[in-house]
């Protein structure tokens, strides 16, 4: 893990300050408190200027009482781990952190979701990201293939390490968990973020990236923080457009695309850096289902609920009329279509017809 002194100092400062507050208040005979932003969609707003979901100012105050004493102790204990990790320039995965707690007797975590939530709390409380606290996710980053050279560092020598993403054959380059230190070189025209590994494989197998002169990213569902940050840094440094190609269903739109573009509601304090505001939505749109006569499945109740929720509560979709209309259209149609539904017209229809046709009208992509 590369050392970033500035970030480390900020994290250390924050941790110590919080601990000191608790300590001082306690000695005064007052009940110490931990204050953190509420982590939910209700506490985010769409920041037009930056193009991401930003935190509003709802705060959650956790006062030390009988009811909170356990999670209070656990939070402070996890903070202590973080401090030690930074000071020893080490890191721990979320799973490892969970296991460290097994040494705490009564204060141990019983299940990993408990410790994950505490880490998210600390992250929001400190307004730093998990990686700065030296907690690493287990989640795998996305995969990359195409016209891109990633410049990493050799772990032993520290010398730059050039990774050519055209050179993985039928495989692909895995986005590492931490991407802040990477640099990019490319001549590609655009970046295409793909939802499913199946579609990514098809495009890779046919060297679509060469034909279209682009970078292909496999998100594998909702993009991880690392994937979002990776794409964001590419988009920022290379200044090329990012197109999104996901299933034509409420999950693909409201979860996968939304998170890629403007970040998540749950970790809104880091969205500013962990999203790709320049991304646009290529497909599959509700209109595509009609235009391409795609085979469909009916929307399930959870799909409809998700879609309605997006129009009603998601500040991003509420902001864009075109999106509201598109989602309403889908609800009205009552059907969804997967990326691979294009195979109805032939396995390579997507390469030969769909993508070229869509890419001619990038201005028509949904925001």
């Amino acid at each position: 893990m590369a050392k970033n002194e500035k970030a480390d100092n900020k994290a250390l400062e924050q941790l110590t300050k919080t601990a000191k507050d608790v300590y001082d208040k306690s000695l005064k005979g007052q009940k110490p408190q931990l204050t953190m932003p509420v982590r939910s969609l209700s506490n985010v707003k769409y920041e037009k200027k930056g193009g991401y979901l930003a935190l509003k100012n709802q705060l959650k105050v956790r006062t030390l009482t009988y009811n909170t004493v356990k999670s209070f102790a656990q939070t402070l204990k996890v903070m202590a781990i973080s401090k030690e990790l930074i000071q020893t320039d080490d890191h721990a995965s979320k799973r490892e952190t969970y296991y460290i707690s097994k040494n705490w007797g009564a204060a141990r975590f019983d299940e990993q979701p408990e410790s994950d939530a505490v880490m998210d709390d600390i992250e929001a409380m400190m307004s730093v990201n998990r990686e700065q606290l030296r907690f690493l996710p287990e989640e795998k980053g996305g995969e990359v293939a195409g016209q891109l050279v990633v410049i990493d560092k050799d772990r032993d020598t520290g010398k730059p390490l050039r990774i050519d993403c055209t050179g993985f054959g039928s495989g692909a380059y895995s986005i590492p968990i931490s991407v802040e230190h990477l640099q990019f070189q490319t001549k590609a025209k655009f970046i295409l973020c793909i939802e499913t590994a199946g579609m990514f494989q098809r495009l890779v197998a046919h060297n679509y990236w060469r034909k279209a002169n682009c970078v292909l990213i496999s998100m594998g569902g909702v993009p991880t923080r690392a994937t979002r940050r990776f794409v964001r840094r590419m988009a920022d440094t290379l200044k090329i457009p990012v197109y999104t190609f996901v299933d034509g269903d409420p999950y693909g739109i409201a979860n996968i695309y939304r998170t890629l573009k403007v970040g998540s509601g749950n970790a809104a304090h880091i969205n500013e850096f962990f999203c790709v505001p320049t991304a646009t939505f290529m497909g599959i749109t509700p209109q595509d289902i009609i235009d391409y006569k795609l085979p469909t499945h009916p929307l399930k109740d959870v799909d409809i609920k998700r879609a309605k929720d997006a129009i009603k509560n998601d500040p991003f979709f509420k902001f864009h009329k075109t999106w509201t209309q598109a989602i309403e259209q889908m609800i009205k149609m009552g059907v969804r279509a997967e990326q691979q539904a294009l195979a109805k017209h032939g396995l390579n229809y997507v390469i030969e017809e769909y993508l070229p046709q869509k890419l001619k009208k990038t201005d028509k992509f949904l925001p």
Binding site: A73, L76, A80
Partner: protein, 580 residues
Amino acid sequence: MLRRQYLDMAKQQKKKKEPISELKTMPTRKKEPRKIVHENAESMAKRQREISVSEFFAKNRHLLGFDNPKKALLTAVKEAVDNSLDACEEAGILPSVTVKLDRLSPPMKEPPPEEGAKEKSKKGKAPVPTERYHLNIIDNGPGIVPNQIPKIFGKLLYGSKFHRLKMSRGQQGIGISAAGMYGQMTTGKPMRITSKLPKNSKATFIELTIDTKTNKPEVISEKEVAWTHESDSGTAVEITLEGRYQKGKQSIDEFILLNTLSNPHSDFTFIDPAGEKFYYPRKTDILVDLPNEIKPHPYGVELGRFHQMVADTASKTIKHFLTKEFSRVSDKVADEILKEAKVKDFSLKSSKSEDVNKVHEAIPKIAIMSPPTDCIVPIGDELIKETLKSQTNAEFYMATTRSPSVYRGNPFLVECALAYGGDLAGDEQMQVFRFANRVPLQFQPSACASFRVLTKVDWKNYGLSQSKNSLPVGPMAVLIHVASVWVPFTSESKEAIADYPEIKQEIRLAVQDCARQLSLHLSRRRRADEEDRKASYIDTYIPFIGEALQEMLSLTAPQKDKLISTLRTTLEKGKVDGEK
């Protein structure tokens, strides 16, 4: 041919039936001839004669509590002790009662186990022979005038207590003479009474038997003897009787012990057949308030009794009768009653029974003060609580004394004490201690009004399990004391209180009052438990806060300890604050 035969048979039958139907008194089914001698009124009259009470009770001794040898012995002790305590209290003497029991026959082996006993009785063998005892009960009471002794001890239904309304242990004047009669019947030995009056230097000794046919005492010998006891006056009663002495439940020992509880002002000494002496000194030198004798209260005096009272009174007019024969009836109240009855004051001599009825009907419609309370002396909240404490080792005690109420014109009062938790067994039925006018009731618990009340209370609210119509199971003991100028017992053996609705109601209210206190206590305890649990929960996690802050802020060990103790205080205090 066939048809003819049938008709003949029918005819024959008809003929047979006719004479039978004439004899209406004879059974319809024909039997072999048997001579039945029918009685007529004259023949019956020859056998009709007065049944003496003594004779009746000689046959029905179970009604007096002499159903089996063990119980008979206890009943004899009980009757004598009751009389002694009553006499002492009335004379204003702090009682001192000695019960001495000697075994005259060699001790029996332990009674055979129940199964064996059953088999035996099935085979029709003779009942197990019993032991013979000599019972001697000595008190320091006022003594008895010599010429009264034969009547008191040798005549059933003779006494000072039947014809008055006053709270006392004895009521009918049956007990002690019945005990003597039982002794006489089982051993043939006479009763021996020694009594000394304060003014005399010598005591009177009388030996007597009871003629069961005439209910009259037969004095066998009478002489002056020296009084060998310390007290200035007193009475000693000796009875020789069959019985069985066993310790444990429903024993004489238990009876004496329970008496020490309800009579803390009395000394008790018990010398058991083995010669072992149990001495219970009095716990207080304060004599119980002497209960006043009262007239009946107008509420609840039934019509028949009302008429009887009208017939017996010396009063000339109904108004005078009402004010003189009843308690709490002033001139004003009497006027109100007469007004309600729509009658004018009338002379009783020429009174019409309808008018008397009208007056009786009017009584419940008039508000009349409750009977005077000084006619009943409760043992008292604190004392019954102490009583229960000496019998149980429970976690929590509560007690209630109800104010007096009335049944059938008789004032009565209920006291209740309740013990919960502690050493009381959680898997056994609730223990019940019953007292009536300070006399412990040891038998027939389920025939008692208290039982009927206790089984009807829903004890499940108090964490006890209870099946229908039975006492709850759980760590609980209840003491119920019913005091009255006339305690209504289900039988003359005075073992169970009759279930008058008014009495049951008062018992219920007393029990419920205690139960309410209990549930308050239980919820308070639950809260305390919860606090403890919370405190220990807090104690579990606070050290981790100290640890984490120590790691992050490099605290010294004393700093950490101070932090932990401060936080603990803050949180403990917070709990209390939060409750307000």
